[in-house]
């Protein structure tokens, strides 16, 4: 890579020739404030927060889009720069609702942080008309409050990045607002519920639909037995909400916190992930043997399923009919577990903690009620769990490490890696290979499908048969692959799709990291590493070896793909179109 010499605030640095001033400065450890910039997602130079002085330039320049050149001299902290940034913040604040005290993002808001650092007064010299700001509460999973929107367009870029593009800037000038075509509510357009807009938002304009009070009410109801399950990706990110480094696995403390919050049982969605593998591997082998629809495409990711239903309705028959691990766990809690423990299933409140907002949509779909009751009653995000922990004043860092409850808390390494892109594929291959070979194979690391790249493919010899697999994450990648499947150009037998780039670790329900941290860390990679490390150290690493899974089939379901398994653990899809 060609290097150039630049001077930033009088100090010389050698930086890559293709960097912007912002990248060069961050590389040199000098921070320039930004609002609209989000690495790899939004680089449009719109908000004017990152203005810097460049020697010889007529006016201030936007560091996030201005390229460096040999001999350039940049000043990031002059009075002129400070005055410009202050004015930008004052103007933005003059049309903001300023209800920080009750805002979900207070303390984690990039706009609030900058106003605070720059000493901006709440009442400022640009007082005037304040637009009401539309509020959109039309979906089951997401809320928009434009009174807090600063029009940075990070959500718009995130939505485009997901190849969905249902939101954008409407109208003009003072009337500009982010919304959907023809001012329709989000619930009436083909939004896939991925929540990538939420984790891109620098302020509190976008949040998940908060269900924490529903959880508290259930726990406080003496008639109810409240059972919680947590997805693999949650443990890899929850610690960030409590100031721990990105990629810290906090499984033990998370379990301890859930018990202290008052949940009667703490189960692991990983158990459901192992069940999913049993059913999905069986379904795959069955489709191969009996000429069923191929490629089979995974269905764990509800944002992806909704995308497929809207934009590729002709391919819904390719989706595995398996429910997601969340709903498999939920269905078995209200059937097998309730039966075993002699509990009336109508008294159970089944709660899930997910890295995802689309899960809030998934639990209310048709055919997600295996035991005649909703598989899951309340689904909350990783962020909402953190909110519950904070509200209960638990000192998270000082909690002991505890274990999941045995009944549905035993899992395998195969299930843990569900949280990262490629994990479901690898888990399925581990089981399918053993089933076909009829033995316990030792080589079980399918490293070709690991890693956070958006598209991966490989051919594996499984039981004497060549299986061509593809793994994609992020819906742009899914879209490109599906076009090929539709045209017949792609000849895969098994495809894993995860809606969010990098898989669930980077889900729309995960802790929100600032733009600065997005610049400095590969967040999804660090979180995924926490899961692969856990997998490596687990005694059991194949789903079919999970003793609770084995017991569940022996005592209750019979065998994978049985009639009962179909009733409880499989679902149907809708051709939605757009």
């Amino acid at each position: 890579m060609e290097q150039v010499n630049v001077k930033i605030n009088g100090v010389s640095y050698e930086v890559p020739a293709d960097s912007t001033i912002l990248e060069a400065a961050r590389y040199a450890g000098i921070d320039i404030p930004t609002l609209c910039y989000l690495k790899d997602i939004n680089q449009i130079g719109a908000c004017r927060m990152c203005m810097v002085e460049v020697k010889g330039a007529r006016s201030l320049v936007a560091a996030c889009v201005y390229p460096v050149n040999e001999g350039m001299e940049v000043f990031t902290n002059t009075p002129k720069v400070q005055e410009s940034r202050k004015m930008t913040l004052e103007l933005l604040l003059s049309v903001h609702d300023r209800k920080c005290l009750s805002c979900e993002r207070s303390g984690n808001c990039e706009f609030q942080k900058l106003c605070n650092e720059m000493g901006i007064e709440v009442e400022n010299r640009f007082e005037g008309a304040v637009p009401a700001g539309k509020k959109d509460y039309s979906t089951l999973y997401l809320e928009r409050n434009n009174a807090k929107c600063i029009l940075c367009r990070r959500c718009v870029a995130a939505c485009q990045n997901q190849h969905v593009s249902v939101i954008g800037a409407n109208n003009r000038g003072f009337d500009t607002e982010i919304g959907c075509a023809f001012e329709k509510p989000l619930g009436d357009v083909s939004c896939v519920a991925c929540g990538q807009c939420i984790v891109s938002c620098p302020t509190g304009a976008l949040t998940e639909k908060d269900n924490t009070q529903d959880v508290i009410d259930a726990i406080n109801d003496p008639e109810k037995i409240v059972i919680v399950q947590t997805a693999p990706a949650v443990r890899a990110a929850l610690g960030e909400e409590f100031g721990m480094p990105i990629g810290t696995n906090v499984e033990g403390k998370m379990v301890a916190a859930l018990r202290r919050l008052g949940f009667d049982k703490v189960f692991d969605t990983d158990f459901g992930a192992d069940m999913t593998i049993m059913e999905e591997a069986h379904e795959f082998l069955d489709r191969v043997k009996n000429g069923g629809k191929l490629p089979i495409i995974t269905s764990c990711s509800p944002g992806w399923v909704k995308f497929c239903e809207h934009y590729y309705p002709d391919l819904v028959d390719n989706l595995s009919t398996c429910k997601s691990p969340q709903n498999m766990t939920g269905a078995l809690i209200k059937s097998w577990y309730a039966q075993k423990e002699g509990i009336d299933p109508t008294k159970i409140v089944s709660v899930s903690v997910m890295p995802c907002v689309a899960k809030k949509f998934e639990i209310q779909r048709d055919d997600e009620d295996g035991a005649g009751l909703p598989d899951v009653d309340i689904s909350i995000t990783t962020r909402e769990l953190a909110r519950l922990i904070k509200r209960a004043q638990l000192n998270f860092a000082r909690l002991p490490d505890e274990k999941f409850d045995d009944a549905m808390g035993v899992s395998t390494g195969a299930a843990v890696i569900f949280g990262a892109t490629g994990g479901v594929m690898e888990a399925a291959l581990r089981t399918a290979a053993d089933v076909l070979e009829g033995k316990d194979l030792e080589s079980i690391d399918y490293t070709e499908v690991r890693g956070t790249e958006g598209f991966k493919e490989a051919v594996y010899k499984v039981g004497g048969m060549d299986v061509k697999v593809a793994v994609v994450s992020g819906l742009s990648n899914a879209d490109a692959l599906l076009k090929k499947v539709r045209s017949g150009e792609a000849d895969y037998q098994f495809i894993e799709v995860m809606c969010c780039p990098g898989g669930c670790v980077n889900g729309g329900g995960q802790p929100i990291q600032s733009s600065v941290n997005h610049s400095f860390y590969d967040i999804k990679k660090l979180r995924a590493q926490a899961l692969y490390d856990q997998d490596k150290n687990m005694p059991l690493r194949k789903s079919h070896q999970n003793p609770v899974v084995q017991k569940c089939y022996e005592e209750f379901l019979g065998e994978p793909g049985s009639h009962k398994a179909h009733e409880l653990l499989h679902t149907t899809y809708v051709k939605r179109g757009y």
Binding site: S165, G168, R172
Partner: protein, 165 residues
């Protein structure tokens, strides 16, 4: 102000549909095709209802929101149809101080529509416009190409009656 969106039913003749199809076909695959497509579609239909924008979005393989965003950004794009008679009431400074707002109010009451709307029978549409350069006649309104000046609200009734037949 947010652009007003028509809630009148959309009427489409086979000739219009064919013309729009040809426009989309000619622009397919080109960068920046949304603007010219909207321009030509408005020439065909007089305005840009959701049915037309959806056709453009699908045809050019861009999202409906992108098309809608462009159509609401530029003031020359209309999302409501024009009536057989188009009324413009000048709300420029001179007309305004001479009571143009009262004239406009009378029209909205009389026709039951707001600026940027069209009556259900398609007889009238209404806009509030900026200075048309006839300040000496303030307050001024135009119906189609006809200019009416030195108005008082009561004049509205007789003027509109001429076009109602």
């Amino acid at each position: 102000m947010q652009k007003r969106i028509s809630n009148l039913p959309f009427h489409d003749t086979p000739e219009q549909a064919q013309k729009l199809d040809a426009v989309i076909e000619s622009l397919k695959g080109q960068k920046g095709a949304v603007m010219p497509a909207l321009h030509q579609a408005q020439e065909i239909y007089g305005y840009l209802p959701i049915e037309v924008q959806e056709k453009i979005a699908k045809g050019l393989d861009v999202s409906l929101e992108e098309v809608y965003g462009v159509s609401t950004f530029y003031s020359q794009f209309a999302l409501t149809p024009k009536g057989r008679n188009h009324i413009s009431v000048c709300l420029g400074t001179a007309c305004y101080v001479k009571g143009a707002d009262k004239v406009l109010e009378r029209i909205t009451q009389k026709l039951g529509i707001q600026p940027e709307e069209c009556t259900e029978d398609g007889t009238f549409s209404l806009t509030a416009c900026r200075c048309i350069g006839a300040c000496g006649l303030a307050p001024v309104m135009t119906v189609n190409d006809e200019v009416y000046g030195r108005l008082v609200p009561e004049d509205v009734d007789t003027i509109l009656a001429q076009y109602m037949a």
